[in-house]
Structures are given as C-alpha cells and as structure tokens.
C-alpha cells in the first residue's frame, strides 16, 4: 500500500519539471566575474526582432516580466529576452562585492547581448529598461560595447538620476500624505509619517523606509486593489525560481548601495542619439513623471526620434497596470522605428 502511494507521488513530483515555466522558450546562462546570470528568450524568435529587457531593483527579476500581460502580448510579435542581473532574481554564483559597479552591470548587459547574438544571429535589437533598468539602460547606451546596435530605447518609468528621483519621490509622497490627512484618512498615522519626511529632507535611494511608505499609498500601483500577487506556489515548486530568488533581493540592495546612492548620468545623456520612447505612469510615486520629463530633455536624440508618453491612472508599472496600452505603445514605437528605415 505504502509503495503504491509512493509510486503515485513520484510522477507528480517529477512533472513539476515539465510545466510551461520549464519548457517554453530557450534558456541560457552567462557567467561573468563570478555571477551566473540566467537568460530566458521567449516569443516570436522567427520575427528576427529582439527586445532585450533590463529589470528594476536592483534586485528584482526579469523573469517577473513574464507574469505581466503586457510583455506576454509583446511576445506574439517579437522575441523578448528576459535576464537577471548579478545577484538578482534567479542569478546564482558568488560574485565578489567589488563587482557591483556600474561598469560591471554594463559589461554584464554586453555579455548577455553578445551571447544572444551568437545564438540567434541578430545584428540589432531594441532595449527596454524598467525603473532601475532605466539607469542601467542609460549607462549602457553611453558606454556599452553593443550600444550602436540598439535600434530603439524604451524607458518605462526608468531612472537616470537617482538623487533627483528620490527628491521628486519625496515631494510626491508629501503631496499624497497631505491629501490623505485633508481627507481625514488615518490622519494620525500619516501625520507621523509626514513628520518623518519633514525631518529628513534628504535621504539615500537605498533607504527602505521611504519605499515601504510608497507601497502603501499607491506610489507603485495606482489601484493597489487590482494588484495580483504572483503565483508563489507555482514559482517555488514548478519553475526555475529557487529559494534564492526570494533571498537575493535584500542582498542585492546591500551590494548595490554604493552604486545606486548618488548615481546621476545626466551629464552624459546628451551622448545618446538612439530613437527613444519614455513611457511613464502619471501617478508614479517611485520615479515620478518629472524624471521622465528630465530624461526626455537631456537625451541627445533628435526631437523627431523621441517621445514622452504619460499614461493616466497608472503608476510605476504600465506593463502590469495597463497592459494593453503598454503593448500598444511599445509595439507602436518598434514598428515606427522599423518603418522609418524603409
């Protein structure tokens, strides 16, 4: 009886290696300076149009984009390259703390692109960065070895000047708290938090308190009630995710603190001339729309080749909050760049 039960359980356990997370698309790793970074290529590879993504954080996972309807819709027309940066998400290995420099993140991005070019033979590609991925993408467009092969750059609520981003985020938070107090919504609680902001006119991008307050005020998600939790059970037991995925975040924040605190790429953004789309949520409290406007002004791309699209009733992640609009804007930009060449 016991043996027969074991015989029933064994195939069930083994089948967790055969689900969609384990079989869809192609899967690679790139090892550079101790970091083993996973790459997942999904979607329409036959299109020959590749969109390389840069996730946020630092410390989040590019694999999380796959959970978004917006990215899954893009996969119908394009090959989408999702990967995890060093010590982030599903990345493994044991990179030394001194490899968490902007130069290393840019070189990692080059390695991922090089590996994909070796595998699929594409010459040019589109690059999309979300949040912190905006800063990494900006740095890549300035110094990356493959920067001249970028057909178009899409910044989705992306950073480029973290001290300014934090300052704008603080102002957004103060405005929001004052509204909540005026509406008498948990006024005592918010008054205490407002006091913290008044006592701390300047704080570092790595300060966790600000971001924890942001998450409770809709700064990340315009309609928090619409936020759908990731399917943690499926991810833990039947996907490439590991327990490390959940433990990397805190470690990554700590390792990248010297990199993110004070990072400002404004002075060199004029060097970038790549066609660009800045896609922003009007209600973004984490990287407010003022940062998108600043990036739009600073970038060296000619006016006719750049656009800033601000989406109402959307905060930090258009791909999750307004996926149809996100897909339409990104597809429209890609098709526009391709058509302009004809």
């Amino acid at each position: 009886m016991k043996l027969s039960k074991l015989a029933l359980i064994a195939p069930l356990l083994t089948s967790t290696n055969c689900g969609p997370w384990m079989t869809e698309g192609d899967y690679y790793h790139v090892m550079r300076k101790g970091a083993e970074m996973p790459i997942w290529v999904r979607g329409n590879i036959a299109s020959g149009i590749f969109l390389v993504t840069l996730h946020g954080g630092p410390g989040h996972s590019g694999h999380d984009f796959v959970l978004s309807e917006g990215f899954r819709a893009l996969e119908e027309d394009y090959a989408v390259v999702y990967w995890d940066q060093r010590a982030s998400g599903l990345a493994k290995g044991n990179p030394s703390p001194d490899t968490f420099t902007l130069e290393d993140f840019v070189a990692d991005t080059d390695a991922v692109i090089g590996a994909m070019q070796d595998t699929y033979g594409f010459d040019e590609f589109f690059l999309l960065g979300h949040s912190w991925g905006g800063a990494l993408g900006t740095a890549f467009l300035i110094d990356g070895a493959h920067r001249d092969e970028v057909s178009g750059w899409i910044s989705v609520d992306g950073d480029h000047n973290l001290p300014l981003s934090v300052a704008e985020s603080r102002l957004w938070m103060i405005d929001t708290i004052e509204q909540l107090i005026a509406e008498n919504t948990d006024a005592e609680h918010w008054s205490e938090i407002l006091e913290w902001y008044e006592e701390n006119p300047v704080f570092l991008p790595s300060d966790p308190r600000h971001y924890s307050y942001l998450s409770t005020t809709g700064g990340y998600f315009y309609r928090p009630e619409d936020y759908v939790q990731p399917p943690y059970a499926e991810l833990t037991f039947a996907s490439p995710y590991s327990m490390g995925t959940y433990q990397n975040y805190e470690r990554s924040i700590r390792l990248t603190r010297p990199l993110t605190d004070g990072l400002d790429l404004s002075d060199r953004m004029g060097e970038i001339t790549t066609p660009s789309l800045f896609l922003w949520g009007e209600e973004d409290g984490a990287v407010p729309v003022a940062i998108g406007e600043d990036a739009f002004e600073l970038i060296g791309t000619p006016d006719e080749d750049k656009s800033l699209v601000v989406i109402s009733e959307c905060a930090h992640s258009a791909h999750d909050e307004v996926p149809e609009r996100f897909t339409a804007e990104v597809s429209g930009f890609i098709e526009g760049v391709l058509e302009a060449r004809l």
Binding site: T16, V30, W40, A87, K92, G93, P95, G114, D118
Partner: protein, 194 residues
Amino acid sequence: MATINLLLASVLLAPAAPTSEEPQTTKELSPWRITAGYYGDVATHPGGYAGFSWRAAEAGRFSFSLGADLGSYHHRRNHTAVFLRGNFASRVTFESGILIEPRFVLGYAHTWADGDGYFVVDDEEMLRQRTPIGAPNVIYGMGLGFGFEIQEGRMAGLAFMIRPEVLGRAPYNSYALSQFSLLAGVEWRFGGRK
C-alpha cells in the same frame, strides 16, 4: 527557531531518557542500514539518494547513528546538483514501529547551471560558449525524519521514512542560501539478524 530547539533537545537529551522498554527486535538486528529513496529539492525538484548508516549507540528505544549519503537532484533551468553528506542522527523507535529521527547533515555539493547553453566571459572579457564546470558548495542543516519500521517477520528491519530538511548552501551570492528538501525512502538493515 522553536523547531530547532526541539530538535536539539531531542538529540541532547535522548541518552538520559528512560529505557524501561527495550524492543527485542532492535537488538537482534544488524547495526548497519542501507538507505535509498527520493530526494526533492524544495520537495519537487526531483532526485535520488543512497547511503548507509551505522548505529553507534543504543539505549532502549533510543539510538544514535552516523551515516553518509550520496545523491543528486535536478532543478530544471536552474541547476543540477550532486552531493555527498555525512550525518549524525538520534532515533527513537516506539513499540508500534513508528520512529522519529532528528538528524544533522554536513557535506559537499557540486552544482551545475542547467539550460540550453552556457556562456563564459573570461578575464579578457572574451565571451565563449562552454560546458559549465560547476561550482563547489558546502551544505549543512538538519532534518526531522518520521517513519515506520517493520518489527517482526521476514521483513523486520525494513523501514519507510519521510524526512523534511532545512538546509544552508554556501557560498551563494556572498551569503548562505536557506532552502528545504524532502526525502522519502526506505531503509534496510543489511546483515540480517545476529
């Protein structure tokens, strides 16, 4: 933390526990056991293990053993691991044959990234496709086994075990990764009756 304290207390206090009842069958059987079964990293990433243990001391229904096991598991698109672990266990076997066994493990695991291709950037920043050489890891942790051992007849000494474990694996992104595993298998006292 409470679970860890309970396991520690079980191991440390076991020798001092009363020994009024001493099942005859336990004494009659060999101190050597072979073990084999399913090893699941976070339960569902499948693998297997095989090993042995040696009962070093016994006091009534309590016993201590030392052992080792060799195993492997495959977490698709993440990694494949081969491990060799030593263990120290304290077991209590009830008259019914039900047994409980806290166990400490310490060992070595070698892990290889799994996927459709593997690229390495060397010190000169040259990118090449390679076969992964894998990475060394120390693994350590504890588990709590539950099982049933047949006490009589021709199958006496055969036990069925299920054992959840909490493990650390280091180094991993400059920290020790916490994970869990599930072992389910059988034990057999080889060498038969004395």
